[in-house]
């Protein structure tokens, strides 16, 4: 559904920000995009909804070349929630804020009203009804930003640093939400630094470093490879670290455990075996 073919991008001639990007994202995937600051993650992701057009190569969304269409057109298919919710909020009431995207994309008044109510409910914001978005707390504003992009029901959803400034409960809610979005028709792309979150949320991990793709595959495998972690300025998730250190002490300890439950079971087995 999303195809990057030999994509290169530079803001100014001679200074490439993206090079040789070849990438295919299929529906049904929850993909993580990681990399050091300045690697080009945001630049890459902006190509998906046409905010940026490639200098070389081409980007296709549902077989349409992004150069043949506009960001507004692509907004029907691609939803983009930016890192800072305050960069989006402008309306006088929550309803108007959520309705903004829907109205821009030409939904009927009835449909707009329906979806506004539905999504305010989904994100637990209904009780703030006709209030100003600016009176909400930081976490609530983030939920409002999410609601106003989700209500369009795009097939592709891009979230830029969704866990920033979120506490543990909020992150759990986000994980639940991501799970509910996971289905054969949707693509979910998470740009993040948060390794603990990534390893729980994504099925596929892509690492961008210095404008080039250096890894694309299993999150667990990639987050245990020191060289990649180093390039992307990441630290391995605690459980991944644990599994590898355990394997050093106990060669039979499985290093391919991916979830908390699997790790618990592996340790239990090890201890039982020692009796």
């Amino acid at each position: 559904m999303i195809l990057f073919k030999d994509v290169g991008f530079e803001y100014e001639p001679g200074q490439p920000v993206l090079q040789n990007i070849n990438l295919e994202l299929e529906p049904g995937q929850v993909v993580g995009l990681m990399g050091e600051n300045g690697a080009g993650k945001t630049t890459l992701v902006k190509h998906i909804n046409g905010l940026l057009k490639p200098t070389t190569g081409a980007v296709y969304v549902n077989n349409i070349d992004t150069r043949d269409t506009s960001t507004a057109q692509l907004a029907k298919t691609v939803g983009f929630v930016f890192q800072n919710a305050d960069h989006q909020l402008f309306a006088d009431t929550l309803q108007t804020e959520v309705a903004f995207g829907l109205r821009n994309l030409g939904f009927s008044k009835e449909e707009v009203d329906n979806r506004v109510a539905q999504y305010l409910e989904l994100f637990e914001l209904t009780r703030y009804g006709g209030q100003s978005p600016f009176l909400l707390s930081g976490g609530e504003r983030k939920r409002l930003a999410l609601a106003s992009v989700f209500c369009v029901e795009p097939k592709v959803l891009i979230l830029d640093e969704p866990t920033q400034a979120q506490d543990a409960l909020q992150k759990d809610k986000l994980l639940n939400f991501i799970d509910s979005f996971r289905d054969p028709e949707h693509i979910l792309l998470l740009v993040t630094h948060d390794v603990e979150f990534a390893i729980r949320a994504v099925d596929r991990l892509i690492i961008l470093s210095n404008g080039q793709l250096i890894a694309d595959g299993s999150p667990h495998q990639i987050l245990s490879t020191p060289l990649l972690l180093d390039r992307a300025r990441l630290l391995p998730p605690q459980l991944t670290q644990f599994a590898h250190l355990m394997a050093k002490q106990f060669p039979q300890f499985p290093t391919n455990v991916t979830t908390l439950d699997e790790t618990v079971e592996a340790v239990n087995q090890l201890l039982r075996g020692r009796r």
């Binding site: 905010l51 960001t71 989006q88 821009n104 994309l105 992009v149």
Partner: protein, 259 residues
């Protein structure tokens, strides 16, 4: 149109012009502006402009200055048309030339003087610290706000906002979803910066000292002298000679296009 700001964006370079005390550069900018305002004839204005060119070259900032010129083109074209229509083409050209001279004079200042050095200069000239600081703060955050504006614009366009759609009234309204987040964000930022300043004893009652100091050097005195002479000479020609002894001025001084 945003290209017009290129000639006013400071870039750290090691040139003669950059090494001058900001007060010197400021004096030069003001003097050149005054000289530019003294004349309305094409040839003198061209001469003034040509005399400023070496300074732009010395500051190694020709590319930036030229970009600004391009940005100025629309405004210049507008002035050209209006003045040609109402007065004469010759007059229009001289007005445009004046505009270029003024722009160049001040870009010379902004290109080579860092806002904080300017703030230091203001303080040396006994302007209260708070004003000088407010000014340098504003300049320091301009690039930050500019970047944020682009992000906000991207975010709203990603929600289907089309800036170019609709009649002129609609087009103005299209900018509201961009303007409001900029304002709100800037207010938030101002509060954060203020908190940070307070936390570093800004506004403390003690008399403020500074790590660096400005002092005028030989080159500054030289430039000040040269500029003063140029200014006096220009004033002399513009007032004394032109009014009392116009016959002393060569014919080409008054040359203008016949239309």
């Amino acid at each position: 149109m945003a290209a017009i700001f290129e000639a006013f964006r400071f870039k750290q370079k090691a040139t003669f012009m950059h090494s001058l005390d900001p007060r010197t550069t400021f004096f030069m900018a003001v003097s050149f502006s005054i000289i530019g305002m003294l004349f309305l004839q094409i040839i003198p204005l061209l001469l003034v402009f040509i005399s400023m060119a070496p300074f732009i070259l010395l500051a190694r900032s020709t590319r930036q200055w030229f970009k600004s010129l391009q940005g100025l083109a629309i405004l210049a074209g507008f002035i050209l048309i209006i003045n040609s229509f109402f007065i004469s083409f010759s007059f229009a050209i001289s007005t445009v030339l004046r505009l270029v001279v003024l722009m160049t004079a001040f870009s010379l200042f902004f290109l080579t003087v860092h806002p904080d050095d300017f703030a230091l200069a203001l303080i040396k000239m006994h302007i209260p610290y708070e004003f000088a600081f407010a000014f340098s703060m504003a300049v320091r955050y301009v690039p930050t706000i500019a970047t944020e504006t682009e992000t906000i614009r991207d975010a709203q366009m990603s929600r289907g906002l089309e800036l170019e759609r609709g009649n002129i009234l609609q087009k103005v309204r299209n900018y509201i979803p961009i303007l409001i987040p900029i304002i709100v964000s800037s207010i938030r930022r101002a509060l954060q910066v203020a908190e940070s300043l307070e936390s570093r004893a800004f506004g403390s009652t003690a008399k403020r000292t500074s790590l660096y100091d400005l002092s005028l050097r030989k080159r500054d005195y030289a430039m000040l002298l040269v500029t003063t002479f140029a200014l006096i000479f220009a004033l002399y020609v513009a007032f004394v000679v032109r009014i009392q002894f116009p016959f002393l001025l060569p014919d080409w001084f008054f040359w203008g296009l016949p239309f």
